[in-house]
């Protein structure tokens, strides 16, 4: 789909949804506050301004064994005004939505931009984006989790815990539910006004098996249950009570599992594990701000730099490797109608046939890449954690597209002589340029002669990103594609949290270096 056609389609979808939805923050008084903020900023000297009025509710329920450990429900409401004055950014925010405070905060943001000008060299320019007069978007939830009673939520967790504790050797179990509703009204001086209501939920549990006579303990968490941009229906579908015994049995099994012999193995990585490897070793290094040095002091830079030596040239992996950026997969964590620049996010390829062809961008970054890509618009990856934080470039959903042949996990297994099959995310660590990584998992299985021959433990694999992705030699097809994600990905200073999904099929990687993390540290 070309860019123009995509924009038209997206705009059509928005127009349809605005007829159906009545969102609380579409209230005229909120719009008036937004317009007041923009006017106050312009009066104070801003050449551009945007305002976000945010109201976020977070509910969490936590349990251990047969008791509740925490029940909390938190709401935060406020606004943030971002301005450009003399080519510099300024941002100020407050929880007080009175007219006088909006005026004060707008003036503060402009004064701050002017103060920042003294330590700036290059004025900011923004890529154009179409106006939106009254855009509405809501996560595709079926049942609002905030309408479900606390008894039902607690009951579900305690049932799951009871199931886990039926397994001999399972000593402790923790479980929790977290729900977020993020209502956001956005307006900018580029004639954009949007109202969105984003939902996220995360069911989790963790079982601990203990062998105190040998001083051993092992855990197994609900790694296959993804956090999603969905409602209560996702909690029911996740079926913690139905899975709890299996997770508990695997925690107990890990106590006596064979400790892995270090060496080189073919790895079969299923989607609930592989998503995190994609997140760390592909999604982060293709952030343009990292590649240019803007995140050098914390999140780091990227080995994919400088862009002129990367785009259209750098081979990341095999010919069948295609990586997509999007904020539109239904139920994905980063899905939205507009980003925090007021831009409709694009679905686009970051890696095409194994070659890097694009980065993630926001409006203030587009001009940097235009000479290389010819692109005039942002991909729509601007995001702020809350009304109190300034928006900046955050990753969209970054996904490994399935292969053309509809291979299944079993096909990968059958084709493997000496391998390790890894299930679920575990420990993860990667360097600041995204070269050297080390990943663990939840459960590990030895694969010999095309079959699982037993459970392993103490497994971690360590590799260099381009070597690892170029060792991928098999990939699952469309029917084996799954999404998982991270509820809190940190980036920026002060650090902000972002929720994002990654889809992928299972894939096989040849001769990867495997360490034993339990035997010794050398």
């Amino acid at each position: 789909m070309d860019r123009r056609k995509f924009v038209q389609t997206a705009a059509g979808a928005v127009a349809t949804s605005s007829l159906r939805l009545k969102l609380p923050q579409a209230d005229a008084s909120v719009k008036d506050l937004c317009m007041r903020a923009l006017n106050a900023a312009k009066t104070a000297g801003a050449s551009y301004a945007d305002v976000r009025v945010g109201r976020t509710r977070l509910q969490s329920v936590s349990t251990r064994e047969q008791q509740i450990t925490n029940l909390s429900d938190t709401e935060t409401y406020g606004f943030g005004i971002r301005v450009l004055a003399q080519g510099a950014w300024g941002f100020a925010a407050s929880r007080d939505l009175s007219a006088s405070e909006i005026d004060r905060v707008a003036r503060l943001a402009v004064a701050q931009a002017k103060a920042n000008r003294r330590a700036m060299q290059h004025p900011i320019t923004l890529a154009p984006t179409p106006s939106v007069t009254d855009g509405h978007w809501r996560s595709p939830i079926e049942t609002d989790p905030f309408d479900i009673t606390i008894e039902e939520k607690v009951g579900l967790l305690l049932r799951a815990n009871a199931e886990a504790l039926k397994v001999a050797g399972a000593r402790f179990v923790n479980s929790s539910l977290a729900f977020v509703k993020d209502a956001k009204t956005y307006a900018s001086t580029d004639d954009i006004f949007t109202v969105q209501e984003v939902y996220r939920c995360f069911p989790q549990m963790n079982v601990t098996a203990v062998d105190s006579t040998r001083g051993l303990f092992e855990t197994r968490n609900s790694a296959e249950v993804a956090p999603m941009g969905l409602g209560w229906e996702w909690v029911l579908k996740s079926d913690l009570p139905g899975n709890a015994q299996r997770w508990a049995e695997e925690a107990v099994q890990k106590l006596t599992a064979k400790s892995v012999e270090p060496g080189r193995y073919d790895l079969i990585l299923e989607p609930h594990h592989l998503f995190l490897t994609i997140h760390e070793s592909i999604a982060h290094p293709t952030e343009l701000d990292r590649a240019l040095g803007y995140e050098a002091n914390y999140a780091g830079t990227s080995f994919l730099a400088p862009p002129q030596q990367v785009l259209g040239k750098f081979r990341y992996g095999p010919e069948f490797m295609n990586i997509q950026g999007d904020r539109s997969q239904p139920g994905s964590l980063s899905a939205c109608g507009w980003d925090d620049d007021g831009v409709v996010p694009e679905t686009y390829l970051i890696i095409k046939n194994g070659i890097v062809v694009d980065y993630q961008t926001t409006r203030d970054q587009v001009a940097i890449l235009t000479p290389l890509t010819g692109r005039q618009r942002s991909h729509g990856t601007s995001y702020a954690e809350s009304w109190a934080d300034v928006q900046f470039q955050r990753m969209p959903n970054v996904s490994l597209l399935p292969g053309e042949r509809d291979l299944k996990l079993d096909d990968l297994m059958t084709a493997t002589d000496n391998g390790i099959y890894i299930v679920g995310r575990g420990s993860y660590s990667i360097d600041q340029q995204r070269y050297n990584f080390q990943f663990g998992g939840q459960v590990f299985y030895e694969v010999k002669g095309g079959k699982i021959t037993g459970m392993l433990k103490d497994v971690a694999y360590q590799a260099r990103t381009p070597d690892f992705w170029n060792s991928m030699d098999m990939i699952g097809g469309k029917s084996s594609y799954l999404m998982n994600g991270t509820f809190s990905d940190g980036k920026g200073q002060p650090s902000q949290s972002n929720a994002v999904s990654h889809g992928c099929p299972p894939a096989r990687f040849k001769a990867v270096n495997v360490l034993n993390t339990g035997r010794d540290r050398g």
Binding site: A93, D96, L158, S429, N436, P494
Partner: protein
């Protein structure tokens, strides 16, 4: 300055009393947090973004017998508070009983902790931009690129309950961290500072000078194989790893058999010598370089606690329930700590002089647990690893991945230097704990692979 003008002790008490007056629960606790957060970011030698945000919120915890629930809001008008109180009561009535719920604490006495600095509170956008310019000027003059953060928070926290308890603590914290890189990306150096008081933090020009020197020094670092090396850990690097040890000092996990501090066969390892006898780890809210809150979220006083004394495990952090069950006094961990070693006064430079062959490490990053049984962690060195030969730094080498345990590290101690307050959080903002640690010399530190990242 004992009170923060944004939320004085009197205003905090009044807000708490408004909430308690609305409560119809059998018991009620109120927590108030208010603050203003100012930051300025820079990269490529210029300001990129900045932010100033004001917020204040209350959390209402209502109890009916052993049933309890908390509701938080930043809508502090009468209607907002009434809604929070009513919702917390409704949720608490619906919650199952929590058998571990302890009775509310009565009124307590708290230590005075003067953690509010006027200089930090006054660090507005213009002053932060001046600090940025001091750093970027030094970097620009050297032909290098600086990226960093000046971040300060000023605020207050209070706790009150229906049993008559009230506590108030105002504080400031400021951090300035920066990474200076060579334009070709082949050299990178870091420096950072953190304190309650901006006047006691390292000055921006001096910080930039340190980072510039490291960026130049790491350019075209030599290749060195992984393996076990004697390392000199700069205070920040030591703080990165020791924080992991401090935060694992949990009594319940140990008693339940799922911690490094669990004793085989049951119980915990209090009383055992677990690290080198030169190591003592202490938390004290009144330590002039820590100045952490003198009470916990439920209002339990936090005093001086010795966790490890001369290498022997003396205490593990205990909440009120677990302490009561074990028949001991609760020992809350309040977030900050100091590693001290009697008589250790050596500077980093003096420690380097004592090393025949080893590696000097600036800081670690992306540290994640790999084995809870041994407190094993993995992570990466960054922004400056230097080879030491015959007591002198002879040049830079590549970065490494480590797989190491802070406990094993403290058993392989060679020498300890003079402690200082560091910015030890990986994020380089004010979010981390207050940490005062010395530079350390450690033998047989496990680097398991090379990282070609710069």
């Amino acid at each position: 300055m004992a009170d923060w003008s944004g939320l004085s002790r009197a205003a905090a008490r009044q807000l708490c009393e408004r909430v308690l007056a609305l409560s119809k629960a059998e018991a009620c606790q109120v927590n108030v947090t208010a603050g203003t957060n100012g930051n300025t970011r820079y990269a490529r030698n210029e300001v990129t973004t900045a932010g100033d945000a004001d917020n204040a919120s209350v959390s209402v915890t209502s109890r009916f017998g052993k049933r309890v629930a908390s509701v938080g809001t930043n809508l502090l008008d009468d209607a907002g508070l009434a809604r929070a109180v009513e919702t917390s009561e409704r949720l608490a009535k619906l919650a199952p009983e929590n058998p571990e719920l302890m009775p509310l604490l009565p009124a307590q006495m708290y230590a005075e902790v003067p953690a509010l600095s006027e200089a930090t509170a006054n660090l507005d956008a213009a002053r932060r931009a001046d600090a940025v310019r001091a750093a970027t000027s030094a970097s620009g003059r050297a032909g290098l690129m600086a990226a960093g953060l000046v971040h300060r928070v000023v605020g207050a926290g209070a706790v009150a309950n229906s049993a008559g308890l009230f506590g108030y603590h105002a504080s400031t914290t400021v951090v300035h961290t920066l990474t200076v890189r060579t334009p070709d990306g082949k050299g990178s150096g870091w420096a950072g500072t953190a304190h309650n008081d901006w006047t006691r933090a390292t000055g921006s020009s001096l910080l930039a000078t340190r980072a510039v020197r490291k960026a130049h020094g790491t350019h075209d670092a030599a290749a060195l194989d992984p393996g076990k090396y004697t390392v000199v850990l700069e205070p920040t690097a030591a703080g990165n790893l020791l924080s992991l040890l401090a935060f694992s000092l949990n009594a319940r996990a140990a008693d339940e058999g799922r911690s490094f501090f669990s004793k085989r066969g049951g119980g915990n390892r209090i009383g055992e010598k677990i690290v080198d006898e030169r190591v003592t780890i202490v938390s004290d809210p009144q330590d002039p370089d820590l100045l952490t809150s003198p009470f916990t979220g439920e209002g339990l006083p936090v005093g001086r606690t010795v966790w490890i004394e001369n290498g022997v495990l003396k205490n593990l952090a205990n909440d009120r329930f677990w302490a009561d069950k074990q028949g001991v006094k609760p020992t809350p961990f309040a977030g900050g700590f100091r590693l001290e070693s009697a008589g250790a006064a050596a500077t980093l430079e003096e420690l380097i002089k004592g090393v025949e062959r080893g590696l000097l490490v600036t800081r670690f990053w992306y540290i994640r647990p790999v084995d809870q049984r041994t407190l094993g962690y993995t992570g990466i060195t960054r922004d400056g690893v230097f080879l030491i030969e015959h007591g002198e730094v002879s040049g830079a080498v590549n970065n490494f991945r480590f797989n190491e345990s802070p406990v094993a590290m403290l058993n392989n101690l060679v020498a300890v230097g003079r402690p200082e307050r560091v910015s030890s959080s990986e994020s380089g903002d004010v979010g981390g704990p207050a940490v005062v640690v010395p530079p350390l010399v450690v033998r047989d530190f496990s680097f398991t692979s090379v990282s070609e990242a710069v």
